[in-house]
Amino acid sequence: MNTNLNISNSEYNDLISKKAEKSPILKNIFFAFVIGGLICMLGQFIFNQMLNLNIDNEKASIITSISLIFIGAFLTAINVYSRLGKIAGAGSTIPITGFSNSVVSPAIEFKSEGYVLGIGANMFKIAGPVLVYGITTSVILGFIYYIFNYIF
């Protein structure tokens, strides 16, 4: 490799834009749709198996989430999920397995910085905002629901 690193920013940007493939949107959408759909079908399969075991809806759906989170964590740990993500894009980010990936991936990455400030502090780097906004919104809207249904 004969790479000259003494180049200006604009030269660098030109180089990158030449090298970077144009994002083929239709192809991305196709894979996001198919892989996202398949992950949901896997969830439905687990859910149906739980119903067959006479487990109620609520528990079955919790077990489904936990199972998918386990699968996401496992595939992240063996470095398969990131490869899947390159093809699937949002199809692997948006399902709950992607949430799991967003927790597990920084946990592994920051391991070298220690158990508390590495793994512990970075685990929720991406999932943290998800919980902050999800929980805050649900408390605010829950409050509005409470006022309209129990006070008026």
Partner: protein, 121 residues
């Protein structure tokens, strides 16, 4: 036949939700991390507006497995806890309903980090 239709609806619903996310990533500068945050918040709001319920009835896990379904669970759990516990349910319901998933992600994440080696990028 019935089971095929059921899985078809799951595939369709989950696929469409992921497609919306993919279009947002490709057409705007929203990063995947922001997409997750946006979708969970939308799930809560659509739950509140009564829009996510029929989507869930149609698509089952196709609506509950995407992260927007996590938002929907947060809201549904809040409503259920309010019915059972009154005012305090506003604070306890959401996290209670999603506790299994959150705890699983933390524990599996921690365990995975013990055994997996970071990849060199």
């Amino acid at each position: 036949m019935e089971i095929l239709i059921e899985y078809g609806k799951v595939f369709l619903t989950g696929g469409i939700i992921c497609t919306i996310g993919q279009i947002l990533i490709d057409k705007t500068k929203i990063t995947p991390a922001r997409i997750l945050t946006l979708f969970v918040t939308l799930g809560v709001i659509l739950g509140f507006l009564g829009i996510y319920e029929p989507i869930y009835e149609f698509g089952k896990c196709g609506a509950s497995v995407p992260i927007s379904g996590f938002g929907y669970s947060l809201y549904k759990g809040t409503v259920k806890a309010i019915a059972e516990q009154g005012f305090i349910g506003i604070f306890t319901g959401g996290v209670s309903a999603t506790a299994g998933g959150i705890a699983a992600a933390i524990v599996f994440g921690f365990l995975a980090s013990l055994f997996a080696k970071p990849t060199i990028k």
